[in-house]
Subunit: 321 residues, 2 copies
């Protein structure tokens, strides 16, 4: 198969690129290097099965032109749309960020696919579409869907467009509702923040919130395992699955302690107040992965082991910078 | 209060304009006359409490400028955002239609409100956000939300943005999920289609589908009663309510027969096949209005009486054209 990956130079995108190349696919990557970085695809660029183009996906004409020129001699059979804003607070203070990077990239991906006749779409959605369900278990068919961040809103909007497209012209769609994903190359997130804070102010780690906020974490390698499993096994033309750790998660306190232990044993951790890190951040929640388990997949690592692995990788990454 | 109404020259918009003027409010109307028409607000324009400006709401800069110049001498305290595409099939064949007219108008409404510091928003959503729930009762908290038209998708996207805004800076929001609304000035819909078809081909009415498709209908005067009731009574800062007839609805066959009886008794009705009128049209569904009833409101007319009234009004309207 010949697969287009948007956001190919981002954290998850570059990991997907590597995996699909390993599987023997022809891979085309698009990225605007806004959050993704060229260094993330350096290795892939040495593979002749990989092509890359720097494209602004929010601009339909240039996106279409880039896809069309590749498609003309190597027909694209599937798209993995992973490009999005990943800075939730930035999208809350300026709604244009998620409009452009999270929503219009999806709108344009669908437009390009429709025009080129590409019928298979894998999409990176998020647990943020569920908003704050006040402790209710987040399973795939729950309602109401009232996101509390523009990021969650624009991912829900993207799912809605994909659903309408699937009713009308899109043959297959796989919607993956991502959990908190960790690993390398880390570009954002609490673990990277902690490691960098310790580098800036050695001996001391200031944590936002009281440290009791609890979430499930999945390692990026397992996220990709799960996506490939769903793509292979789900029979429904519009498949939507939560992907996540099969446990109640770990606390911010646990993560801070793991980072200190790996990066600078003995550093003092000080906590703030409250269990919400910022507006739009959902406190401790329970994320059901029963549907995915019923399809025959569960993670090998729990949240704690995923965090421990990611901490080692991120500390190593930051020491190389 | 000083209230901005978007889509003020449309079917529902102009009825809202008249009602809010009757209640003594200062009303500012915006419309691009794409689907709305100047004749719909002729009467209102004679009222000194009403101001109108032709504005392209999908263009943020001109929308903001128009709102800001009014706001400077008469502060806007509330917005009723009613502007949207109303041609569902048009939005399915060209996704840009609902992107621009259904979604970007909402995005820009929120941006303008945020910039001007307006904290109260009433929003016209739709039963189309629910998609095809295969016979399940559509209550406000049901899931999953997988719309089957771009119209439904972009209304769900709008709700999601409003939800995120309410979490962050918007004081109050009322989301009204509209049913099929009928009455005058009719601009689209099955009843108007039937009346016009009979005018074009007297003696014969061709109906799309087999006539068994069944929906609830609400008369526009009752829709406005319900919206005002919710705005007055709902205590929650983000209030979302289905509005609709409190019955299982009437069939397309019933509507065709009512139109024939009123416009041209004795004309022959011929039906097509299947019970879906077009892609994106949801067949017979059951729409719960329990939440609205619990808030103390129910319609005086059933679907059948609403249809009968609207047929009389639309026949009269078309004979005046």
């Amino acid at each position: 198969m010949s697969i287009l990956i948007t956001g190919a130079a981002g954290f998850i995108g570059c990991n997907v690129v590597h995996r699909l190349l390993e599987q023997g696919h022809r891979v085309l990557g698009f990225d605007n290097f806004c959050r993704g970085s060229c260094s993330n695809i350096e290795t892939a660029l040495t593979n002749r099965q990989f092509s890359f183009e720097r494209v602004e996906l929010a601009e339909l004409a240039s996106f279409e032109a880039a896809a069309r020129s590749f498609h003309a001699f190597e027909p694209i059979t599937e798209v993995w749309h992973l490009a999005a804003n990943s800075d939730i607070p930035a999208g809350i203070s300026d709604a244009q960020v998620d409009l452009r990077d999270t929503f219009m990239t999806t709108f344009n991906t669908l437009e390009v696919m429709k025009r080129l006749g590409i019928g298979r779409l894998a999409f990176a959605s998020t647990s943020a579409i569920y908003g704050d369900l006040k402790g209710a278990v987040m399973h795939e068919d729950i309602g109401p869907l009232l996101p509390i961040s523009n990021y969650g809103a624009m991912k829900l909007a993207s799912e809605a467009l994909i659903s309408a497209a699937q009713e009308s012209w899109l043959a297959r769609a796989w919607i993956f509702r991502f959990p908190n994903v960790i690993g390398t190359p880390a570009t954002h997130g609490a673990l990277l923040d902690f490691v960098r804070k310790l580098q800036r102010t050695p001996g001391r780690l200031d944590v936002l919130g009281d440290g009791t906020q609890q979430k499930g974490y999945l390692h990026v390698t397992e996220l990709i395992d799960a996506m490939l499993h769903i793509r292979e096994r789900a029979a429904e033309p519009l498949a939507y699955y939560n992907i996540g750790a099969d446990d109640a998660g770990v606390t911010v306190r646990f993560m801070a302690e793991q980072v200190v232990a790996a990066a600078e044993p003995g550093a003092a951790i000080s906590y703030g107040e409250g269990n919400k890190g910022w507006v739009g951040d959902v406190p401790r929640f329970f994320y059901s992965v029963d549907k995915l388990r019923a399809l025959g997949w569960k993670p090998r690592f729990g949240s704690a082991e995923a965090v421990q692995r990611a901490v080692q990788e991120i500390v190593a990454q930051e020491h190389c910078v």
